[in-house]
Symmetry: D2
Subunit: 324 residues, 4 copies
């Protein structure tokens, strides 16, 4: 393989630039030309493909977002779209792909390989940490710290005003961000899709807090599958609880996606970017590079897509004990 292209796809995540840099610098090391595709599959179809050298990725390791930009592509879901993409890669002499993204991205890559035999190795780039085949995904540690920073700030107000705050964090249908930001933020209660808690459970926890003279509380809510989760839950609790409480709701929203990546995310992204490139060079395809127990592993896209990563049950137990 002499020419490989890298692209980012799906929601941006802090550390994606570090992964791109590792692919480019790794290419230099292995004598492979690296190209960048702008805006994911969309750019592939349009031929928005540029050569990347060491200078192109200089001074980007500390930046959030992705210098290659990201986009969703409806056209790539059609055979015609993929054919156009293939023609563009062909005309640029691209023989393999490194895809930084999540399961949507990997699904597209697998279909594309089956049709045109251009192999892809993926690197898990998503703040949600919901990908089977790696302990952590690129961007997750930064997102958790951003959420934590917000929780710390909100606790100042919660304490000053004796309030209960419901804080909604990202994570789609995964509770990872909620669990880690909730435990580290000292939340009294954490609501995640993986563990069904009833309104009565939450009311119970909050009431137990009152009895211990706890005057303020933080409840972290994973966005789960419904829009406006935290607001709805808070509303129901307000109408259920029979003690006078001042309940506020805040949705952390898009701040969780951006920002300077943490040390952990930069190193993880560097290892995974290089790992994806070297996997491709070693003949891997339709697989995602991941780090499990501090070791590089490759997992078939099929498994990353169909298998569910479980939240460590130690953490759920820990959360229960610490909020006493």
């Amino acid at each position: 393989m002499k020419r490989i292209a890298v692209f980012t796809s799906g929601g941006d995540a802090p550390g994606m630039n570090a992964a791109i840099r590792a692919v480019v610098r790794g290419g230099l090391h292995h004598g492979v030309e690296i190209f960048g595709i702008i805006r994911g599959y969309n750019g592939m179809i349009k031929g928005d493909i540029i050569p990347l050298n060491s200078q192109s990725v200089s001074n980007i390791i500390q930046r959030g977002g992705t210098i290659l930009k990201s986009a969703r592509s409806k056209e790539f879901m059609t055979p015609e779209g993929r054919k156009k993409g293939y023609d563009q890669l062909k005309s640029h002499g691209i023989e393999g792909l490194v895809a930084i993204g999540g399961n949507g991205t990997f699904t597209g890559a697998e279909i594309f390989f089956n049709e045109f035999q251009i192999p892809t190795v993926g690197a898990p780039g998503t703040i949600d940490n919901d990908l089977f085949g790696t302990d952590y995904t690129i961007g997750y540690d930064t997102a958790v710290n951003t959420a934590l920073d917000a929780i710390d700030k909100i606790r100042d107000t919660a304490d000053s005003h004796d309030r209960i705050f419901f804080i909604e964090v990202m994570g789609r249908d995964s509770g990872y961000i909620a669990v880690q930001s909730g435990i580290s933020g000292g939340a009294e209660s954490i609501l995640i899709p993986e563990e069904r808690q009833t309104i009565e459970d939450v009311v119970g926890t909050l009431k137990a807090g009152f009895e211990k003279k706890k005057s303020s509380s933080i409840v972290v809510v994973a966005e789960g599958d419904e829009e406006g989760h935290a607001a709805i839950i808070a509303e129901r609790i307000k109408s259920t609880i029979d003690v006078p409480v001042d309940i506020r709701v805040t949705n952390l929203g898009h701040i969780q996606r951006g920002g300077r990546p943490s040390a952990y995310d930069r190193i993880l992204a560097s290892r995974l970017g290089l790992g994806a490139l070297e996997g491709l060079l070693a003949g891997h395809k339709n697989e995602m590079a991941g780090i499990v127990n501090d070791k590089l592993v490759y997992t078939p896209f099929h498994d990353t897509i169909t298998k569910k990563k479980e939240i460590n049950s130690d953490l759920l137990r820990l959360s229960g004990i610490l909020s006493k």
Copy 2:
């Protein structure tokens, strides 16, 4: 005056603790005993009043929120409530008050003085910077930097995905936070109550951006007087604009209130806390300590309540030029 009490009231603001510390250390310097009232006027009514010494305020200058807590008091709006408060102060031998808060707090203090002749000097503590009589209020600089940090993060995503983001910041009916965070965040457009812009104006700015190949934009919206401002405006623009755009809305919410105060806020709060105390000792009453052009001044509560502080028109002009 031998005994003075300090309290915080209204929304908490970063730097309030630095102001409390300055009152206590200033009391030590001037040989005056300082007491703290917990939860503002509510605590005054209940007699929740504690002595404060140098150790009480050690290691608090860096903390957000207020160690004296804050609350709204309906009871203090009644003559009976104020009488109770007076009796409590009397029984503690309190002869004067330092009130850290905003216009609601000062209004109460003035009525209280007229009834019971216990003088209050105020220190402006609110993130909104909407108080006449001081260039800046305690907490404003920190809140602007918190909003800015969020805008910087969101721009990473806006750039990566070619999106337009509407970001709603705090400020009640004042546009200060919006103007400073918007200019420093490089916003393409800033919507504030002080300057009526039509939907057409905003659409015009955004379209001009497209024509210059600007692929992402940030619009900062002051919360103004309506709930959900940013969401409503974004919706109306979506239905008006005839170019395909991906518009997102995020409301920064309560993170803007908390956090470690900035250097500026800690110094401002220290000067104003000491200034309020020394004003009280010098015979001031019904006045707010403020810093105007780097000098300590006292302004009658009547003026802080009735006069409107204007946003420097240089800033509005600057914003227009820089977003080109």
Copy 3:
């Protein structure tokens, strides 16, 4: 066991407070009374021992340092000192100890057990990450991010002035902080005790950079075993290199110890604090609780003291490739 005491010893590390909190809340969960010893072995000798309840550890998870303070104790190195300590514990009814610290602390605990049969389980609290028996130590992730933040800032100046910066980071005789902060900071070269590099190697790397028109460079130097390491190396390189370069040296120093702990450190510390307590209750002694491959394990003090934790060789290779 009905009464357990917790203490911190050795250099302070961010997350120690989260570990203390976990011990206290865990005690509540298991119906065990928890006491805190102030200033480590010194406080034990003096009987500076206080009961801790849920409120004592409220709102400390986000604070750097240690609320129990830390100190070195020469007296505890003598049999007389340890006898005094034992008498104090006895008189307080303390039956077991949770020691948060490093190898110096654990060595003392083991001798103490052999003399007086009061069992200790340790939790690894040190920013250096140099303890065998755990993948990470409490405080390490925060220290790396603090060092990284400093490197990011210094790179702004290095780039603006085309300079080479030698940045010395902490870690005693371990290169962990240097390796992770160096890779994540995009350092051109990383000098650690574990891997002897000659001055010629560094000069070679820097010269190769010049040839690729790299105008600025960052060299991260682990403090190693000599004081002023970075300054000495920089001086020698200045006198060796035959290209005109502007070389500056900065020693990050004590900022690396403090600050709000990261999410990772708070969770790690919470798991290890609870793990140490529950280990003690389950009959462990002379062992350190650690997390290896995301699982709680106990390692004899003897091993944590005598065995050397190796730096993952993948990281050293990564560093070489990324600086191309």
Copy 4:
């Protein structure tokens, strides 16, 4: 004037990029072409001059350092060097200059004007805040907050270990950074060139602290005119004081120059960049744009160079009272 060039010179300061951006966007607004000179006077001599458009300064407002780079130029101190610089400007059609820097920069600009009649208006860019003619310089607020952040971190360790820390901050022969970071960091003592304190004074303050059971102390030392100031002072105090104390010294060094500029610095830099440009267009020359009492003013280089800006004596008094 149809073509104006902007450059940065002297030590880099956070906000310089915001000032460059304001010059460029202001040029667009006024229909003037803006060029950038790379590496200050050095680049002028070499003709390293590039056109800047709106895109060139997009997404730089949040970055530390300077995209135009900075350097000292010995050659520009010679008539021959300046002649070369003039020829280069001439050949590019440059009719005026905006110089972002300090007094060294302005001195060169004035000599250059006298020889070649190319006018310069300056913008004060230095973290030291030592320029007469403006309340604050670009980069100062950020540097103070960086120093403060470090002091907050070090206090965690000082408190945990009952230590006295001497922290040296930047500022050359000015005590501005020391005063503001010291007051906001709650320092027990602040040593600045403007106010001679004897070793006895400091020892007195520290002893008074001991007597009040203050177990830790922070002394902030301005770098002043001697290298290693803090280390020398600490050594002398160690040998003078007769109480057992654990004294540590840390020099914050170059981290104070870099990093994301604060909101204040971005706005100040934007106002001053635009102000310098508009001053030049209005016929000003040999003057520095400054903000005094929130208003744009122009001060002759002669005054900025010869006059000394005094530290507000309120702050010095405040510092004395608060450390009680």
